[in-house]
């Protein structure tokens, strides 16, 4: 048996089949799963009032943060590809945040954006501007998380940079001979050539957006504080006012805080179906704007 079969079965096949099975059961983690048919799915689609706000938060992140991440990473990589001096230093500076563990990075941002004592609002205050409440405001919590996401685009930026540097020079030269300016060359040469990489970044961005969890969990727990001594676990998931209650956070809450793993499994299956559906749609529609170079150029 080849190793990939073992890896696939252990890490993907078994968990997928188990999750699919558990989604049809009531399973409190402590006693054996009990078959309930489609009850979890009925509850998910017809009764649970927390699902829609969580879906809306996740969609917000995918619609706003993911495109911004792609534009930002692309912009930085194009700028870096044109830098003449100190290229190594700039690449390192822009890549470094990607190495910060998500929990540490989130803690750092919550500190920086603390509305009372954080350096950002302190500086704004000195300029006579009353800074927003950032992670403590339902209007600003998701934009704050977006800033954090933009800060950490190093990985995407490096992939874009490699693609931009890989665009054949003769294409630019031909375009220049035809009288194309900088923006025309960017629009008609660079972007079409690297479009498969952009597609990759969008697909990965959307899937990661669907799974967005760690930063939201940490930011809500730290900014929200909680009556945690007697209640033990943080009760601030989604703080403030459920604005950071993303779909995976709700899934975690159901599975591990409310001992409702059967229902959480149904939520996971829906997430899988949506991830599959969105990825399929993006890949299928990409043919209109993604340009693949002919082999053996």
């Amino acid at each position: 048996m080849s190793p990939w079969i073992v890896g696939f079965t252990v890490f993907f096949g078994y968990p997928l089949v188990t999750t699919a099975y558990l989604s049809f059961t009531h399973y409190d983690l402590l006693s054996s799963p009990h078959w309930v048919g489609l009850a979890n799915y009925r509850y998910l689609f017809t009764t649970d009032q927390t699902v829609w706000p969580a879906v809306r938060n996740t969609l917000w992140f995918i619609a706003i943060a993911v495109p911004l991440q792609v534009f930002f990473a692309l912009g930085i990589s194009i700028m870096l590809s044109r830098a003449r001096r100190g290229v190594g230093v700039f690449r390192t500076i822009f890549y470094l945040p990607a190495l910060a563990p998500p929990v540490a990075a989130t803690l750092g941002f919550v500190y920086l954006l603390n509305p009372a004592t954080g350096p950002v609002n302190t500086i704004l205050g000195k300029l006579g501007i009353e800074g927003p409440l950032w992670f403590d405001s339902p209007q600003w919590a998701k934009p704050s998380l977006t800033l954090l996401a933009l800060w950490g685009i190093g990985n995407t930026m490096i992939i874009f940079l490699a693609a931009v540097l890989d665009v054949p020079r003769h294409l630019y030269e031909s375009a220049e001979l035809d009288g194309a300016g900088y923006f025309s060359r960017l629009w008609y040469v660079t972007l079409p050539t690297i479009s498969p990489v952009i597609l990759f970044a969008v697909v990965i961005g959307v899937i990661e957006g669907l799974q967005y969890f760690t930063q939201a969990y940490v930011a809500a727990s730290v900014a929200g504080g909680s009556a945690s001594y007697s209640a033990e676990s943080a009760n601030s998931l989604g703080y403030p006012e459920d604005s950071t209650l993303f779909y995976p956070v709700l899934l975690y809450q159901q599975g591990f805080r409310y001992f409702n793993m059967g229902y959480a499994s149904a939520m996971a299956m829906l997430l899988l179906a949506v991830a599959f559906g969105l990825t399929f749609l993006i890949v299928r529609n990409s043919r209109r704007f993604v340009h693949y170079q002919a082999p053996g150029r």
Binding site: F12, H26, S31, Y43, A227, S230, F259, L272
Partner: protein, 439 residues
């Protein structure tokens, strides 16, 4: 197209599947309490852990041959994972009495009824509230081990400066004093807050406020939060928040220290009156012995004067995970820590938590600090209540809190409609959990 399908499926699979393992089976109860090495998990960390270890040493001295390894800093997630993995400790302590509704019906914690019958331990040795939060639907899988009660802490110096000699007894007194005690700096920012009513700040959760309004949670097996008592409680909280300005309080809270740190806002004099648990007495003694403060029962609604003296109670629970191989020895330890008056008094003296049997409350060994006495009386008050144990753990409280945070910030304005919605949502959660139970 097939290739596209395959690639997308693989991508989706690779990024979204979460693993969930299976359950484990329970082992039989032994009957022999001979020599054994057993393990106890506790959420306590030093310095509380040291006190617990001293009491466990007393137990070992009384039971030669039984050696207990005490491991601190654990939590319910770890206990659940260990039970599922078959390597749980012999004795587990949890700070979350809400989880009794999961531990008891699932059998994850062993039924203590047979042991109590055998050894003649009657549950009437515990006051009503701790009795409630350690059993579920007739199965007692835990004993209370120390309780937490809540009351009012007030800074005597700040009150004296404002001309007050006694703490407030009613909510209108609390409100008037809170306003007078509040200080703002020249730019209007809050410097000292008389009483901070912000939702979920430190100990500000509905469970802790409810008893002062006589508010309850359930009517039979249905959620019943749309009541005049809860409406009054929330209207008061909102009016005080509005007086401070919601955003002003957010900024104040963001600059106040962490609850469980030396920079706690009450301990540092940034808050004049404060709702908190009895444990704060020990924290203040350790962190800010210079603080001139006193405690009192939490003020009650003006039309519920007879409730004065009562409060909210919850507490630690202790039980035997079903996977324990030394259940008889484990029971001896659970019995010792849960029912021995001297052990509870010693724990209470060291940790400053409320001892949980009627006997231990009167124990001559009990040496409470003066500020701690308030909590002993609150604990013993006939009107002191706890939150009901349900199959959905803390989900009902958290669903309630989610609405409360929106109402108090002003983003939801229909209080009655909102509370009715919360009841509906909790009932659906209860029904969903009930429907899944094996027949």
């Amino acid at each position: 197209m097939t290739r596209v399908l395959m690639v997308t499926l693989l991508l989706a699979l690779a990024f979204t599947v979460t693993a969930c393992g299976g359950g484990s089976k329970s082992s039989a109860t032994g009957t022999n309490a001979g020599p054994a090495n057993i393990t106890m998990w506790t959420p306590f960390v030093d310095p509380e852990l040291k006190t617990l270890k001293l009491v466990v040493q007393d137990f070992e001295a009384k039971h030669p041959g039984i050696h207990v390894k005490v491991i601190g800093g654990t939590n319910d997630d770890k206990i659940v994972a260990a039970i599922r993995g078959g390597n749980a400790p012999d004795v587990a302590q949890s700070f979350s009495s809400d989880n009794t509704g999961a531990f008891c019906p699932s059998g994850a914690w062993a039924d203590l009824g047979p042991y109590m019958d055998r050894d003649g331990v009657n549950e009437s040795i515990f006051p009503e509230a701790p009795r409630q939060y350690t059993e579920f639907e007739g199965t007692r899988c835990a004993l209370p081990m120390l309780a937490d009660t809540y009351g009012l802490y007030y800074n005597k110096k700040l009150l004296a400066q404002a001309g007050y000699k006694t703490p407030p007894k009613t909510i209108s007194q609390l409100t008037a004093m809170a306003k007078k005690l509040t200080q703002r700096d020249s730019s209007g920012k809050l410097k000292v807050v008389g009483f901070n009513p912000f939702p979920s700040w430190y100990e500000n959760v509905p469970a802790h406020f409810g008893p002062s309004w006589g508010a309850t949670w359930m009517d039979g097996d249905k959620s019943a939060l749309n009541t005049p008592a809860w409406q009054d409680q929330l209207k008061w909280q909102k009016s005080l928040i509005d007086w401070y300005g919601y955003d002003n309080l957010v900024r104040f809270n963001a600059g106040a220290g962490d609850e469980f740190s030396e920079s706690n806002a009450f301990e540092t004099g940034k808050v004049a009156m404060h709702m908190d648990g009895e444990w704060r007495v020990a924290f203040i003694k350790r962190e800010h012995p210079e603080l001139d403060y006193a405690t009192a029962p939490f003020p009650v609604a003006d039309d519920k004067a007879d409730l004065y003296g009562a409060g909210y109670v919850t507490g630690s629970i202790i039980g035997i995970p079903k996977t324990s191989k030394h259940k008889d020895q484990a029971w001896l330890l659970v019995k010792y820590l849960g029912t021995n008056a001297n052990a509870l008094a010693k724990l209470s003296n060291g940790i400053q938590n409320v001892p949980t049997t009627t006997d231990s409350l009167k124990s001559p060994a009990l040496a409470p600090l003066p500020q701690f006495r308030t909590f002993l009386t609150v604990f013993g008050d006939a009107n002191t209540t706890t939150t009901p144990i349900t199959r959905i753990g803390a989900a009902n409280q958290e669903t309630f809190q989610s609405f409360i945070s929106k109402y108090l910030s002003g983003s939801k304005t229909d209080l009655e409609g909102g509370l009715a919605g919360v009841d509906k949502q909790i009932d659906a959660q209860l029904k969903q959990a009930e429907a899944g139970q094996a027949p």
